[in-house]
Symmetry: C2
Subunit: 310 residues, 2 copies
């Protein structure tokens, strides 16, 4: 095994002094005025991709010294077809060159042979398709609802290359409760059942840091149920979505961590990358959208730090 | 609503006289010798994509007069990054020009704002990104495990454009039973619970044919449980995977249909598109891989027809 994603992540968190993850979910219609003007009102997909690329590289430049990880959301790039997908991989390489780890937020989940191809696309086993390894994320998000077979090809690549994954256990959207709060015959909820699966899938892939390369996406909901998940998955890294725009606060995130402060990374997307839209931002930063994003990123990092003092 | 996918599908099934769906899951290493020689042993992604494109267009040419629908599996194209994704859309357009309906097999599933972008990418609301509508599939496969919010953006596009979707209810891989046979407190299995969700999501989108634009992926397992699903989702079109290579037979598929023979389409992928690999195929067809695929497609259609006679 070529190192563990979990160990590389732990080292990066120590180095930057924060477990903040900045999510890159760019929307053309929300780009800073300067970039929107350059792209025009009804750009071709390729023109839109050029401008979005400029914006995302700007975000990465700002974030690189402050945070250990960026999460790049595939959907926002797939919306621009092949050119958008190429940009997704371009940005992965760009972030790597800036010293960031990259989580590819792809949420893929399919059966056997199809899962193998998804693993090839998104974690790229060595030499699979003549692609530069720097263009491939260090970890991906996955849906595990089709069972171990859907995840195994990713685990196989992880075993070979030391890459990682975060499997959906408890999504942040309240609408997902419709399925995840489904009550099982054994008094467990569906998300608790999925937690047990993910814990099992991650055994044998635990790094020196004490965590597995198979992590979980766990939204910070009420503290009690979150603490129960933390206890049920002691060696599982949590990727906590929903900070900022989706409503999770630093306080509700605390239960995702072990007492020693390890065990989770926390993602904020829109509240950071669209910070120039906030009330007062124009007065303070004018056209300096990078400055507004930097300020929001620093506040996000400070807020996470403060939760360990409370 | 600009027509119903369910009605267009019903018309195409009547026209071709079969509910056969041919799944396009191309694998570079399994291409016919003639094409593999043209591509070389370690092709660049772009070179591989060229050769795979030639193969897939050949498959579509053969299938177009025989079947109403092709299902194009995104994973097999994503494995070649942006160039592969462009080919996925190229082939969608090519199949449309040959008079086929196209199901984009993408199995996407994510929360709210991300789901909106996935819907934009994969069902393309009119004018969204300056893309030619012929390049966009008529329907997609989805994962509904994140609840109604994950499916709603697709339903919104379906309402506006008459497109369709098939939501995973019972995958064909036995490994998926690990999750789908999870027993609920109310004596239902998880797949039955999902069936009830999908039925509810499809209400209000029922076409003249009596079926909704929100269909379900339902593997043909034992006849009894399949009949129960058919009864539980009376207005839901089933996309039945796993015919041929994945083990479902025409007989086990019968329970997916209403008595009148409507209500399902049945997919075969590898058993048709790789038919030239079968024992005896070289003796019979020589290098004529198109001939072998045509024969396999005709046998698939005949086998489906015969199940209604038994």
């Amino acid at each position: 095994l070529a190192g563990y994603f979990a160990d590389r992540l732990a080292a990066a968190i120590r180095d930057r002094g924060t477990c903040a993850v900045v999510g890159i979910d760019p929307v053309y219609e929300r780009l800073p005025a300067e970039l929107a003007a350059a792209g025009g009102q009804r750009p071709t997909p390729r023109r839109a991709v050029d401008v979005i690329g400029t914006f995302c590289r700007g975000v990465i430049d700002v974030v690189a010294p402050l945070a250990p990880v960026v999460k790049i959301n595939s959907a926002f790039f797939e919306a621009f077809y092949g050119a958008g997908v190429d940009l997704y991989y371009d940005l992965t390489e760009y972030a790597h060159r800036r010293g960031l780890l990259v989580i590819g937020d792809v949420k893929r989940g399919d059966i056997g042979s199809t899962a193998e191809l998804y693993a090839r696309a998104h974690l790229a086993p060595p030499g699979a398709s003549g692609v530069d390894p720097a263009r491939i994320p260090d970890a991906v998000t996955l849906a595990g609802y089709l069972g171990r077979g859907a995840v195994r090809p990713f685990i196989d690549v992880a075993r070979e290359t030391g890459k990682g994954m975060f499997v959906l256990v408890r999504p942040s959207d309240p609408g997902a409760d419709e399925v995840h709060e489904y009550a099982g015959a054994d008094q467990t909820r569906f998300y608790q059942f999925m937690a047990a699966r993910v814990r099992a899938w991650g055994e044998g892939l635990v790094g020196e840091c004490g965590y597995s390369n198979v992590g979980a996406v766990v939204a910070a909901k009420d503290a009690e149920s979150t603490r129960a998940l933390r206890a049920a998955m002691p060696q599982t890294l949590f990727l906590v979505p929903g900070y900022g725009a989706q409503g999770a606060t630093a306080e509700s995130c605390r239960a995702c961590f072990r007492e020693d402060g390890s065990g989770a990374v926390v993602n904020a997307s829109r509240s950071v990358i669209f910070a120039y839209e906030k009330p007062g931002a124009t007065e303070r930063f004018g056209d300096d959208w990078r400055g507004a994003i930097e300020q929001a990123c620093r506040e996000f990092v400070a807020d996470l730090a403060s939760m360990f003092d409370r």
